[in-house]
Symmetry: C2
Subunit: 163 residues, 2 copies
């Protein structure tokens, strides 16, 4: 939530991490719990009252993943690596990234993506995603789909049936 | 423009700088030409086909400015400092930033902002801005206003009359 009077600037690393570790259904979360436990997201944009897009400073401990591999129907995503060497997984396979590298995931491309930290050191990156309404997310490696609703993300099995 | 087949990832510093130095009217540009000449923007998101928001890797040489001080009516902006010590100018005055610091400029706040590199070393930062239609920009320190049209930005004097 924006402060009544937003700050002029912030040290990103001082912004509090998101408390909720994941919005995945419990059964799905349980299968990836160890990899998701090493993921720490610090939302940055909301401190300034930004609503059009979100920006997170995200840290992946060794072994951690950014998310389940997924593709957005309507929202663009972008990442910029600040430290460490994450492995980007897409339909094309694995690509090792390093600081100063960036990648973008266009809405509707159908190509699902995920970052995995296969290294022994922390990975730190910025991630940007917009807030276009009516987004849907597909997860080709899991029996999972999601759509955004007024109440937040609603998850189903890939075929649309309830968990 | 997106490639027919977008790259998986890019080194941001290898992306080509934007050729057009500025869209300001010639008379306004001339008054700030020296400070704008030291600004180099490398668009990143478009290489991946992103359309919902833009991301630039921007370098400010000593003495350079990010833009004329301005405020957006409908588009959010966000910056993250990668290197150097830019000075952020807002209605509240000047704030010295350093690497790892970020700032956001919410649509419609009315608080105009600008980065100035008052140091002797280059400044490098990421800037994100969304593409919400119908944006208008005000420039409190210059006799200038702008609105986005289908043909691009249309600049007028602050009172709306033509240059």
């Amino acid at each position: 939530m924006p402060d009544p009077k937003p700050p002029i600037a912030l040290r990103a690393a001082d912004c509090p991490p998101r408390r909720r570790p994941s919005v995945y259904p419990p059964g799905v979360f349980a299968r990836h719990a160890a990899a998701l436990a090493g993921r720490e997201k610090r939302p940055l944009g909301e401190h300034f009252g930004l609503t059009r897009f979100g920006v997170n400073l995200t840290r992946l401990a060794p072994g951690a993943i950014s998310a389940l591999r997924h593709a957005h129907a309507r929202q663009d995503e972008f990442i910029y690596v600040l430290a460490g060497t994450p492995t980007l997984v897409t339909d094309a396979g694995e690509t090792l990234l390093e600081p100063g590298m960036c990648a973008g995931f266009a809405a509707g491309s159908g190509d699902a993506h995920q970052l995995i930290n296969r290294s022994a050191a922390d990975v730190l990156y910025l991630e940007v995603g917009d807030r276009t309404p009516g987004d849907r997310v597909t997860y080709p490696d899991d029996d999972l789909a999601a759509e955004i609703t007024d109440a937040g993300w609603r998850f189903t099995r890939a075929d649309g049936t309830a968990y």
